[in-house]
């Protein structure tokens, strides 16, 4: 278990922390090509503490649905367990998903991997290609039948 996970998660006990890590890793695993990290590398408990402390009680309830055997199961079986949970309690799972994705898609490594800058959009901004206005040539050659001179 990562040090970051333990250090930033005082609200969860040791057993809950052990379950949380494979649970969120099952939702967003690392990519096979190694370009995308897993959620466990993004300090999910720290994210929750900073951004969504109100979600911790619900998270505790979700973790209670998974016994300690979950942590030692192969990835395929863990996926089946999480999938069953998502189908049994879709609203709760969607709230968990929102937090997991919220953490993951604010992580600098993840953003860099998908071609985005880190942090707030403003004032960084984005650069856009101006676009080729000669594409309008066919439009200008076809004046159409608009009733533009109606008065």
């Amino acid at each position: 278990m990562s040090e970051g996970l333990i250090a930033s998660d005082a609200a969860l006990d040791a057993e809950q922390r052990e379950i949380l890590e494979p649970l969120v890793d099952t939702i967003v695993p690392a990519s096979e090509d190694g370009r995308m990290p897993s959620v466990r590398e993004c300090d999910f408990p720290g994210f929750l503490a900073r951004n969504a402390p109100d979600f911790l009680p619900e998270l505790t309830g979700i973790l209670a649905d998974f016994d300690s055997g979950f942590t030692t199961q192969p990835a395929r079986l863990r996926y089946e367990r999480v999938k069953a949970f998502s189908e049994r309690t879709p609203e709760s799972f969607n709230r968990l998903l929102a937090q997991v994705y919220g953490c993951y898609y604010q992580d600098e490594r993840v953003l860099a991997a998908i071609g985005l800058g880190a942090g707030a959009p403003f004032p960084r901004g984005n650069t856009l290609e101006p676009g080729d206005l000669s594409l309008l040539d066919p439009v200008l050659k076809n004046p159409g039948t608009w009733r533009r001179h109606v008065t």
Binding site: T26, I27, V28, P29, S31, R35, M36, N51, Y79, V82, K83, N94, L97, A98, V100, Y101, G102, Y104, Y105, Q106, V110, L111, I114, G115, L116, A118, G119, A120, P121, F122, P123, R124, G125, N126, T127, L128, E129, P130, G131, D132, L133, L135, L136, P138, V139, L140, N142, P143, G144, T145, W146, R147, R148, H149, V150, T151
Partner: protein, 538 residues
């Protein structure tokens, strides 16, 4: 509760949004004592979501475009239970322009003549030519970017060059071109170059949560600074409950709640309503008296009737190449007027606009929407599906003309009320058969554009529910007092010192985002008032 009388003012404007700001600025040169009351407060750009790494999550909740979700103290609830389209708005200085997409096309000349041309609804008592100088003046005041030469309009010259098309725009343009259909870079109330002390667009993306850069032309940063410098007084967090009358049947002021929640009476020589097509009938219907038992200025029975939205559908295409579609102004790139006008070969009258909408969604929204639709799973396969979708989508919005129908209404809800106890508006609305057929046609043809442009997958939805941006027609203008609420220059037929300047006076809706036309009308009405000051009430 005792009502305390304030000193009378010359002109009292209710609402500091698109039209209220324009009227205040225009009337300021008269040096009259002008007061504007706004139920909300100034927006703080430093609090807009794009200032924060979790900007996508911040678009929910208190930054939602839906007042029922946002639930700020300045908001009033809206009962949308009897409508397939729900009202979205913003209550504060700048009004809806703070959260609009800033797509800024004008109504077309034909929109003012639908009875004459197509035998439906009514002609307007003003026309495009009459409004053209005010369109141009408004473009200069707001700061509008665009490209002259659009063959679907009379000549016009936006003051700033167009916003970038980007790969997204070029891709859609290719689709329109291969079909031989019209398209043109959109007129946009977003500045593409530094303009009047504001810096240009940074292509942040989510314009509808407020523009941290100040490039989007909301009236809190365009009209209002100039109006205030010219002496207009703007009172925020003042919520108007009703307009009061004197014995002669003239408006003599308003009853409002001040920032401390105290009920007060502000006297005025002239009252101008600028509260949008829901807020304005709400106040009028709540202003009942022995002279107007059915609501103020409502002898015609037209107050609150003929509510028009622009029913909207969306078609999204997935492309193999990256489109940079998360970058740039969400709703401002290009539009098509190919199907704007009536064609007798179709099974509907009037028409629709197609509006390019960039992907808009950042990574979190992409993942969440993908999970909801099943297109981007969580677990194994997430990364591959995410890579296929993020920044690879383009959307076309199909914005349909809604015709006025008396049974589509804004009324007062008998139970729901705002935090001051003022009855909330209740929306009763049905999508007409004409609009349904039009929307179906639009979705099919937008799909054709996507497929021709190279989309590998296409999905469509419509009508979208959270799409009641455009609130029109509920106090319409006209020459006949039996069939309209205000005259051709915005003055109430029934109360000669009461003016209405917002979208509620639209006779028909056209099929474009209405803010440009709302503001041109407001400037026209203000100008007419100035020209008739000596005999304003005759």
């Amino acid at each position: 509760m005792p009502v305390s009388a304030n000193d009378p003012v010359d002109v009292l404007i209710v609402g500091a949004g698109a039209s209220g700001a324009a009227v205040a600025w225009s009337l300021a040169e008269t040096r009259m004592h002008i007061v504007c009351m706004e139920q909300g407060d100034w927006a703080n750009p430093a609090e807009y979501p794009t200032n924060y790494p979790d900007w996508e999550q911040r678009l929910q909740g208190e930054n939602s475009i839906d007042p029922n979700v946002r639930g700020r103290p300045s908001d009033y609830p809206v009962n949308n239970d009897d409508s397939p389209i729900s009202v979205v708005n913003f209550n504060g200085v700048g009004g809806g322009t703070v959260m609009y997409a800033a797509h800024f096309p004008r109504l077309h000349p034909s929109d003012f003549r639908v009875r004459t041309l197509d035998g439906v609804a009514d002609d307007w008592p003003v026309n495009y030519d009459r409004l053209e100088p005010y369109f141009a003046e408004n473009d200069r005041m707001m700061g509008v970017s665009g490209l002259a030469g659009d063959p679907s309009y009379p000549p016009k010259q936006p003051p700033l060059p167009p916003l970038p098309l980007g790969r997204f725009g070029e891709t859609l343009a290719g689709g329109f071109n291969r079909l031989g259909w019209h398209w043109w870079p959109s007129d946009s109330a977003i500045i593409s170059r530094p303009y009047r002390g504001r810096d240009q667009c940074l292509n942040l993306g989510p314009c509808m949560s407020g523009c941290a850069q100040g490039a989007k032309s909301s009236t809190d940063i365009t009209y209002w600074p100039e109006a205030l410098r010219s002496g207009v007084e703007l009172r925020t967090r003042c919520r108007v409950r009703e307009i009061t009358l004197n014995e002669a049947g003239m408006a003599d002021g308003v009853i409002y709640y001040d920032p401390d929640g105290e009920e007060r009476h502000q006297r005025a020589e002239v009252v101008v309503l600028a509260c949008n097509g829901v807020g304005t009938p709400r106040i009028l219907l709540n202003s009942k008296s022995s002279q107007f038992p059915d609501g103020l200025a409502n002898r015609s029975g037209m107050v609150g009737r003929n509510l028009m939205f622009h029913p909207v559908g969306f078609v999204q295409g997935l492309f193999e190449e990256r489109l940079d579609s998360h970058k740039g102004p969400l709703g401002c790139s290009l539009l098509s007027n190919q199907f704007y006008e009536t064609d007798p070969d179709r099974d509907f009258v009037r028409g629709y606009m197609m509006q390019g909408v960039r992907g808009g969604a950042g990574p979190w929204n992409t993942a969440m929407q993908g999970a909801a639709s099943g297109r981007i799973p969580w677990g194994p396969g997430h990364h591959e599906a995410f890579r296929r979708h993020f920044d690879h989508t383009a959307t076309i919005g199909v914005l349909c003309e809604d015709l006025p129908e008396a049974h589509n209404t804004v009324t007062l809800d008998p139970e729901l009320a705002d935090s001051d106890g003022i009855p909330a508006p209740k929306i009763t609305y049905r999508l007409s058969g004409n609009t349904s057929r039009m929307l179906e046609h639009g979705l099919a043809h937008a799909r054709e554009v996507m497929e021709t442009a190279g989309a590998v997958e296409v999905v469509s939805v419509g009508p979208a529910r959270e799409a009641g941006w455009h609130l029109l027609g509920t106090a319409r203008m006209g020459r006949d007092p039996e069939r309209s609420v205000v005259n051709p220059w915005g003055r109430s037929h029934d109360v000669r010192n009461l003016f209405i300047v917002d979208g509620s006076i639209f006779v028909t809706a056209g099929a474009v985002n209405p803010t440009s036309t709302i503001q041109a009308l407001a400037l026209y009405i203000a100008d007419t008032m100035k020209k008739n000051l000596a005999n304003l009430f005759d």
